[in-house]
């Protein structure tokens, strides 16, 4: 007895799409369409100062040019290095902090709240704060070193090639470690006692318990943190822009600051859009990678988490 789909059923089936449609509308207007436009632009020689160049189709020239450009590759490599160091440090420090706070019984909630503050700081403020602290002349760090008599020199934290990148990584890690710490701590709270106790009874050392029970259980939480982080890795742009502006002489140039320089300062929109596409693909790759890891880890845990 085959019945045709009744209007009632059709309405039920359409409801979720109807509920999602405002979200789609906004995202299409603000994200999808502009990205299509920017994809087009990346194949033109568009310059902000000469509007008619928008129709100047140049094929893949922008891409050829940026891929042949040493500055681009240096910035790209630096960005990857920056992310690799920052994310790993954040994970390790976050894990350490979570384990540390998990041991504390008194004032744990307060500590957790304080830990959240850096996460909520505007990246621009984090950048400013460390620009101020690392300032070679009046920065509190050099002042302290001098007052304590450790060093007389005005260490150029934000000027020296390596120190500057290190300072920026420090700011980034300061801002984002709490994402890991808080989620891993939530993981530790959610962790059932039984497997740990079973492992102890089975003769595992504390390290073995951590390695084989605690850590696998925490991995889904780590991947949530990674996913959340990779959603806006690019907010490092704010920090770099305030602290060094990508300088001096491009020594702290990341992919994102390079885009801004080429697009707005040099007004070469076509080329900037080509670079922007590289950065978008990078971000999506990061997020997608961690998201699939998250899904896999979740499946592996069998919903135990």
């Amino acid at each position: 007895m085959a019945r045709t789909k009744s209007p009632y059923k059709t309405r039920l089936a359409l409801t979720p799409y109807l509920l999602l449609s405002p979200a789609f509308l906004v995202l299409i207007f603000v994200v999808a369409l502009p990205l299509v436009f920017s994809l087009y632009t990346s194949f033109t020689g568009y310059r902000l100062v000469r509007p008619d160049t928008l129709w100047n189709w140049v094929g893949t020239r922008n891409y050829e040019r940026i891929f042949a450009d040493l500055d681009f590759w240096i910035a790209f490599g630096r960005t990857i290095l920056f992310l690799a160091i920052a994310l790993n440090l954040e994970f390790i420090l976050g894990l350490g902090i979570a384990l540390l706070i998990n041991r504390i019984t008194w004032g744990q909630r307060t500590l957790r709240t304080i830990m959240m503050f850096p996460m909520m700081f505007s990246p621009i403020l984090v950048g400013y704060q460390f620009k101020f602290i690392f300032n070679d002349n009046i920065g509190v760090l050099n002042n302290a070193l001098q007052s304590l008599g450790i060093s007389d020199a005005a260490t150029p934290w934000l000027v020296d090639r390596y120190l500057a990148l290190g300072s920026i990584i420090f700011a980034e890690v300061w801002m984002s470690t709490s994402v890991f710490a808080i989620l891993l701590l939530a993981g530790l709270f959610a962790m059932p006692r039984d497997p740990i106790e079973a492992a102890r009874v089975d003769g595992c050392s504390p390290w073995q318990v951590f390695r084989h029970i605690t850590l696998p259980f925490l991995m889904p939480f780590a991947f949530i943190a990674m996913t959340i982080r990779s959603l806006d890795v690019a907010r490092a742009y704010d920090i770099v822009d305030v602290m060094t502006g990508g300088g001096p002489a491009g020594r702290t140039e990341l992919l994102w600051t390079l885009i801004a320089r080429v697009g707005y300062d040099n007004a070469r929109m076509g080329q900037a859009n080509a670079m922007a596409y590289v950065s978008i693909i990078l971000s999506i790759a990061f997020t997608y990678y961690f998201f699939t890891k998250l899904v896999a880890a979740r499946r592996y845990m069998g919903g135990a988490a």
Partner: protein, 285 residues
């Protein structure tokens, strides 16, 4: 090593570790806040003055245009812009996010996972990369350097994460609640407002606070899409200071304090729900 001694060493180490950790987390912010209450002279002094000799609200009076000293940076206008843009975009994102989050939490539909992933991926587009085409389009349709333009952009920015969080909060409300209400005679709409919404509302409120803070703190897009007192927000305004010949560290710090305070208060309000929302939405899938 004997047991009790070892335990004590571990305990002491734990406390020292925690103390150092809190120091690293708190000191930079506290130093900036402290600077906001000190005169620039003192900040620039060499050798450094560690114990503040003067401690007052002059910097705040100055940037808000009350004091004897005047500066060229219209902080009150930026403050208003920030507030209007963040509040409006948050309100819109919440409504849209509730609708979308509910769809994910309560309905089964084809391509659900892909749609969810797609929404999240839209959030990954780096602000600066997105700013290029939006800048071009907004320039053409007259949205550049307007509050409306910023509100639209921030709404889009906040939708994916708001949906993620709210999805999680609705999932925490058992599906049977809505079903029981429907059997009790509610339409789905009534069931939502009378049963599901009241149970999820504190979570939704924290999603709202999170969205507000995202807008309040955003810089990459605002730095390109705003240019005058019509729409410039506080984070962009902060950079005005660096354009001057000598940096007014004290004034800049005072402005930083104005940006930080709402973040601190709101974080404090939202922290419990935010942790719950993130872990739940993420882990339970």
């Amino acid at each position: 090593m004997s047991g009790p001694l070892k335990r004590r060493i571990v305990a002491v180490a734990t406390w020292i570790g925690t103390f150092l950790l809190m120091l690293v987390i708190c000191l930079p912010g506290l130093w900036v806040m402290l600077t906001g209450f000190r005169p620039n002279r003192e900040v620039l002094a060499k050798p450094a003055i560690w114990i503040p000799e003067q401690f007052n609200l002059n910097n705040f009076a100055k940037i808000f245009g009350f004091g004897a000293e005047q500066i060229a940076i219209p902080v009150p206008a930026y403050f208003t812009n920030s507030l209007v843009i963040a509040l409006t975009s948050t309100a819109i994102a919440l409504i849209i996010g509730m609708s979308g989050g509910y769809a994910f939490a309560r309905f089964r539909f084809p391509f659900k996972d892909s749609i969810f992933l797609g929404l999240m991926l839209s959030r990954t587009v780096p602000g600066i990369a997105l700013s290029l085409p939006v800048f071009m389009i907004w320039s053409r349709i007259g949205l550049i350097d307007t509050k409306l333009g910023m509100i639209i952009v921030y709404t889009a920015l906040n939708i994916p994460f708001t949906i993620w969080l709210i999805d999680g909060f609705f999932r925490q409300v058992p599906k049977e609640m809505s079903e029981a209400a429907q059997v009790d005679g509610c339409t789905r709409w009534q069931a939502f407002w009378k049963v599901e919404f009241p149970l999820a509302k504190s979570g939704i409120a924290s999603a709202g606070i999170f969205a507000f803070l995202t807008s309040w703190n955003e810089y990459a897009l605002a730095s390109q899409l705003t240019r005058s007192t019509d729409s410039k927000t506080l984070p962009v305004g902060l950079m005005d200071f660096t354009a001057q010949f000598t940096i007014d560290w004290a004034g800049m710090s005072a402005m930083a304090v104005i940006i930080i305070i709402p973040a601190l208060i709101l974080t404090f309000l939202v922290q419990k729900h935010l942790i719950a929302g993130l872990t739940f939405g993420g882990v339970k899938g």
